[in-house]
């Protein structure tokens, strides 16, 4: 798809988007039973009568999951409902063995909040307030593998089900319709999900491993002509990465615009997002809420958080990420653009930790945003996955300060550390990375270089100081780059009795 196609949408239509985000909580046990939530267990090894829906079993609510949901609600400035119930969502699909999913329907735990998200535009950063409709609790479903038909639903002869994931606590965060974003709708959607993820991480309620599918997004998109009422929306299901959220909004906007221009109508339906092509394809027509025949879960009694409990949980809230970013940006005294780069690179925590370990702000940013970002890029990994610690940087920086390492040698030290050659000290000794600071050996190297290039020596003596570069270069080469060039230059001039 070309950007022109997208620009063309904006000449005629205004988008309204909405996001439903499901995030697995980081509890040790499932929502309604004591089964482990550990990822990657052998199939059907984290199951019990409750999460298998066996007759006679009774669910029991995980306190930590409720507390996590309330804390998330508070961090999103929601009202916490004094009275809240679970509901059964009935449907026929084998991802839940009970034939229903325990969720919340008309009485969610948290309602009416907001999250401010920042999008970087050509005119600088722009803040959008995304209003939150509700935050509720539910359980995750089992995992299906489709047999035959190359693992796809179409042509499958049977399906295999692993219920390890069934019953893992999820929170679902639902936005109100987001309008007024114009052409920034895809970016706002992405920024919102990224901000939500940061918030969950800051609260410690989930580590949000997107690659393990612990965050899934349903993306609602509709278009309308300016001044007219909102159009019919589609819901694109299971969009699982930040990049995909942005793409799903963009491609759906373009698709709907084309249909509307051709005089076709938009069908209210579920659509599937194809990660490879970035396109959406039609699923079934959406079931109506009444098709799920929601009713209050009779096996679970209501959750009625007292004011004291909520206030107690409020005291456990950390500084929220947007506030923290604003504070750090001010302390570090960097531009909006630089701050956005730091955040996008996933370097915020790392730089802060490095500074906390005693490294200057500038040096901490320089290493993480420069050399380390380059290496991480080459390796196709995240900064946080590089085997280099804030304390390593502190050690190297103090060796630079004492004149034992140059910037160039320091890069070699980190290259070795990241390559797994050992600790900072081990790499320095293994690679023999020490600045040659011993004057007598430097003077010997200078004398050798001068006698190798007598013409240059004469030039310098006659006052052409710029010619000293050739000698300094020769000395640096002789010492394998382990001398401090400025010092070599000073010694050279002193040796020749030339002053600047």
């Amino acid at each position: 798809m070309t950007s022109t196609a997208f620009d063309h949408v904006m000449t005629e239509f205004e988008p309204v988007i909405g996001l439903e985000t499901h995030i697995e909580l980081g509890t040790h046990t499932k929502m309604f039973c004591g089964c482990s939530t550990e990822f990657g267990g052998d199939p059907n090894t984290h199951v019990c009568p409750v999460c298998l829906g066996l007759p006679g079993s009774m669910p029991a609510v995980n306190r930590t999951a409720v507390e996590s949901t309330i804390r998330m609600g508070l961090a999103l400035s929601c009202s916490i409902a004094p009275w809240s119930r679970f509901a059964r969502k009935n449907y026929f699909y084998p991802d839940m063995p009970k034939n229903y999913q325990i969720s919340q329907y008309d009485e969610p735990l948290c309602i009416n909040g907001f999250l401010d998200v920042t999008v970087i535009t050509e005119d600088g950063p722009k803040v959008f307030r995304v209003e939150i409709e509700r935050v509720h609790m539910e359980e995750d479903t089992g995992k299906l593998t489709h047999g035959g038909g190359a693992g796809r639903i179409h042509g499958a002869t049977h399906s295999l089900v692993d219920y390890n994931r069934a019953g893992i606590p999820l929170i679902e965060v639902v936005t109100k319709p987001i309008s007024g974003t114009g052409s920034l709708a895809p970016e706002v959607a992405k920024a919102y999900v990224a901000e939500l993820r940061e918030l969950m991480r800051a609260l410690g309620v989930s580590d949000v491993r997107m690659e393990e599918g612990s965050l899934r997004c349903d993306v609602n998109v509709s278009l309308s002509r300016p001044g007219q009422s909102w159009g019919t929306r589609t819901e694109t299901k299971n969009v699982n990465s930040l990049r995909s959220v942005e793409r799903a909004v963009r491609t759906e906007m373009v698709r709907q615009a084309e249909r509307l221009r051709n005089g076709d109508r938009i069908i209210q339906e579920t659509r599937h997002f194809n990660e490879e092509t970035g396109n959406t394809t039609s699923g079934r027509s959406k079931e109506q809420a009444e098709d799920y025949r929601y009713f209050p879960e009779p096996d679970l009694i209501p959750v009625a958080p007292s004011e004291e409990w909520v206030n107690e949980l409020r005291t456990t809230l950390p500084e929220i990420p947007s506030v923290r970013r604003a504070r750090l940006q001010q302390v570090w005294d960097i531009s909006d653009f630089d701050m956005a780069s730091v955040v996008n690179a996933g370097a915020l925590d790392l730089i802060e930790q490095t500074i906390d370990s005693g490294v200057s702000e500038q040096a901490a940013r320089k290493w993480w945003m420069g050399e380390f970002s380059r290496i991480a890029n080459e390796r196709g990994c995240d900064l946080v996955d590089l085997p280099v610690q804030p304390l390593d940087i502190r050690q190297v920086e103090s060796l630079i300060a004492s004149g034992d390492l140059t910037d160039k040698l320091a890069r070699s030290v980190f290259e070795g550390v990241i390559a797994g050659e050992g600790s900072v000290a081990e790499v320095i000794s293994l690679r023999e990375l020490k600045v040659v600071s011993d004057d007598s050996s430097l003077i010997a190297a200078i004398d050798q270089a001068l006698s190798d290039q007598p013409d240059i020596a004469e030039k310098i003596k006659s006052g052409k100081i710029q010619a000293s570069g050739a000698i300094v270069g020769a000395v640096m080469k002789a010492t394998k780059g382990q001398a401090d060039a400025a010092k070599v230059r000073a010694l050279l001039l002193e040796q020749l009795g030339v002053s600047e």
């Binding site: 046990t29 089964c35 029991a60 699909y93 047999g147 639903i153 399906s159 295999l160 098709d291 009713f295």
Partner: protein
């Protein structure tokens, strides 16, 4: 009073992925109608000022601590499965997407 019609039964059949013949639809429509009519008798005694009861015991906030407990041995799980393959429950092919 008729509380469910033929179309609703066909719709329910579709949601439940049941292939219903014409005579089955007629049969179930009649049966479901009787059941719903019987239950509707409750609304004759429930006054408007009586809130619907979902839980007979006035109790809230019963929670479990987040401490793992052992689940079932997989061999036991497999025994209860109608069909089992590759350590997983084997289910008939699915024609539609999850709800």
């Amino acid at each position: 009073m008729a509380s469910i019609d033929r179309e609703q039964v066909v719709h329910l059949g579709r949601l439940a992925r049941l292939e219903l013949s014409e005579s089955e639809v007629a049969h179930y429509t009649e049966q479901l109608d009787q059941i719903l009519s019987a239950i509707a008798a409750i609304s004759e005694v429930a006054a408007e000022d009586i809130p619907p009861t979902s839980h007979p015991i006035p109790m809230t906030n019963v929670f479990r601590d987040d401490i793992p407990t052992p689940g079932l041995d997989r061999s036991v799980v497999a025994e209860g499965a109608p069909a089992w393959e590759d350590d997983r429950f084997l289910v008939p092919r699915i024609l539609d997407e999850p709800a």
